[in-house]
Amino acid sequence: MKNDTHNKRLLREANHAILQQYTRRHFLKDGAMGFGALALGSLLNSCGFNSSNNSNNLFDAANPLAPKPPMFPGKAKSVIYLHMAGAPSQLELFSFKPELAKLDGQDCPPSLLAGKKFAFIQGVPKMLGPQANFRQHGKSGLWLSDNLPHLSTVIDDIAILNAVTTDQFNHAPAQLLMHTGTPRLGRPSLGSWVTYGMGSENKNLPGFVVLTSGGNDPDAGKSVWGSGFLPSVYQGVQCRSVGDPVLFIKDPKGMSRDLRKASIDAINKVNQEQYEEYNDPEILSRIAQYEMAYKMQISVPEVMNINDEPQYIHEMYGTKPGEACFANNVLLARKLVEKGVRFVQLFDWGWDAHGDSAGNAVDIGLVNKCRKVDKPITALLLDLKQRGLLDETLVIWGSEFGRTPMMENREGKVMPFKGRDHHGAAFSMWMAGGGIKGGTSYGESDEIGYNIVSGKTEAFDIQATILNQLGFDHEKFTFESQGRPFRLTDLAGKVITDIIS
């Protein structure tokens, strides 16, 4: 009873607020414009001109995250995307360039500098040979540096892309391009597209989870997992690996679980009445969000707790419970995927290597960064495999760009440590699982890793391949916004069939 009067009061307040916003001027304006629009609308409608109604909009406001079938049967059901923010050097990890070693310390030939723009390099820099030893590994005989000793044991499960290229040379726009298909703000991210297209299997958890480590969020900020013009329910949910996984997820002091449930029911009831009056699907979306938030209060802390994992798993991943670190996030990614989360996006900050400090040196900081990620990433692949999940989980490792074969000489000076500048023309990424052919490499850069020679791979191609593995044709997977259909890959992109099994 008490609840009912309370609900009525809430509804009265809501109606009052609406009426205050609705003035006579609005009424006259809407009336005049409305009739014209109505007439034109019905006219065009009858001629079959209303394309927005029959465009394949997959958004179901009442149940925005319900699982949806892809366009064609895909190999991958979920995605774990490991992004090393800051751009690790391909020349110390995947791209073996013995010729570059011979040029170490020499002046960079002017032909490489003509017409080129760099973030920091000025004048004539010196060439810098590879600062790591390379060896061939596995049955495939792929080259890998000693900086990744664990990953080398699973090399036959991964496909290396050695001719990735981007036209961006600053972190934020390059990250946006990689994840949203444009270096500018405002487009939906890959994870948003995927959850929009496929929903998620577990109704108690968000479909798109973001975990960051390394002390900072990526330079492009939260828009790199934003939903752009897609309904906001598809944006990435950032969870913290220390403390409450989602802020304010606990019930405040003095509020019991029952009271929380009652208040959410009351709000939903008011929203439901609003919906019946206005039929705005966004209200249904709001109701669904409240319900999910309530369920998440139980399910998220449960899945985000790694303390219950057995000791051997902790040893395998190298996790440190209670600390904010990449290893913990990788283990969480496995747990989330196992629980039916569609897309898990990890960002690890701190891979920039300009040589301005020991932590930013390709022979010191980079090596230490590798040591922090090599074991957990390898553990992830092995763990997914033994759980029977690797063939339906697509794992992507990469960054926004690579690094120059020249030593950085910021302001024309010699840097205190060995560093490399930003370089988009040729760098490396890899993919594994989810129908990817392991033990393959695609694309080649030239003898010094400066430009690509064959197998040019752009961000769009990687996005197209990811969508393809999930069962989407990137050219047909569109969302209508501002009067035209948009694609993740804009007007480009080609599925990299060479790395698909």
Binding site: G318, G340, S357, I364, L382, R387
Partner: protein
Amino acid sequence: MIIAIVLFSLTELIGRFHPVLVHLPIGMLVLAAIFQLILLKQKTASLGPAIHITLLGGMLSAIFSATSGFLLSTTDNYDASLISSHQWFGIAVAVISIGAFILNKQQNKYTKWVILLLTILVIITGHLGGSITHGSDYLTKVFSSSEVVSNNTLRKPIANVQEAVAYTEVIQPILNSKCYSCHGVNKQKAKLRLDLPDFIMKGGKDGAIITAGKADESELIKRILLGKDNKDHMPPIEKPQLSKSEIDLLHWWISTGADFTQKVKALPQSEKIKPVLLALQSAEKNEEIKLSDIPDQAIEKADDKVIQKLKARGIAVSTVSQNSNYLSINFIAVDAISEKDLDLLEPLRKQIIWLKLGNTKLSDQQIDMISSLSALTRLSLERTSITDKGILALQKLTSLQYINLVGTKVTAKGLAQLKALNKLEKIFLYQTSITGTDWNELKKTFPKAMIDSGGYTMPLLEGDTSEVKPPPTIKK
């Protein structure tokens, strides 16, 4: 602008009535001819007015048909060579039907001959029209089914591929199986023949299709690589498509100069093409008929009421793709699984092919209820209470390709009960009661399957716990 679009759509709309309209003149003109025939035999029959009316109707409908046909030919994309004769015959029918009508009205004595001519023209026009829609071999196909089969027979292995003549032994068989049916002796769509070197180099009505040495610029390769939704894609989407290695071989042959006489060994070979060529020495691999975890045959739509009930229980249900009725079901968000839930699966037994019951408290008794789901290709039962007893019920799942039993109490003996499931490709058995020598036994029991025992360990390396420090000599 809008008016132009409306007009265009209108012509297209009228054009699309052509396949319906054409039946009217055929019927009426033939009826007129039959009446005329009866009239010849029995002079007394009072069929004169009937002939008048049927000829009038036949004439009008013939004119409409010809007009709509012309509009259709301007809007849709048809093979111009096939169309032109149908078009002229159609116009002839329309014109001569006008003549026949007038002659009949004037009681001209030649009317019956004109009607005979008209009938013949109607038959020819109809046949040509039918050939456009159904294909010119539509009628003869009944007799030549053996030819179709011969096209699909498996390629014979080449004894030594390096010694083989590249064109006759590698390239021609590909063209034969995938191209000749439309670009060969019998048919030359777009005036293109691919059965002899001269024709291949000559190209079709749009010019050359091969630029020797430049595969990527060759129309042949371009068409093959076009997206399947593109109308210029070859072979047409409804026909058998080229495999990846066939495309690679064509690409290689053209880029090495499209030579018709040289042996394979005389042509340059990249690292990429070598394994493809070598594969020709073994019998054709069944890469295209590799088991898919989705059955080939279509299935009727599942009962939506049952699906809604499952969804209401928090069970994730969706079809495996937008144009398939096969279902994928996941119990991930269900804590306590009940018989009621499992009962709901039974009516969907034809459609469910992927089922995830992992991490539920599914018991041996309950598993009986999924043994009727005979279409299942993927089944996940990890960390359930299933034991060897429950495995027995899975014997009936003969289509099973993937089974996940991670974290269950299943033993090697229990698993051997599934020996007869010869489609099993992947078996995941991490953290089960299978031990030591059991693994070798299992590999013998399931020789074709990939058996994953899990329990991967990683060595602890010095670098895992230490950091590289900057050398002390460098001062910051």
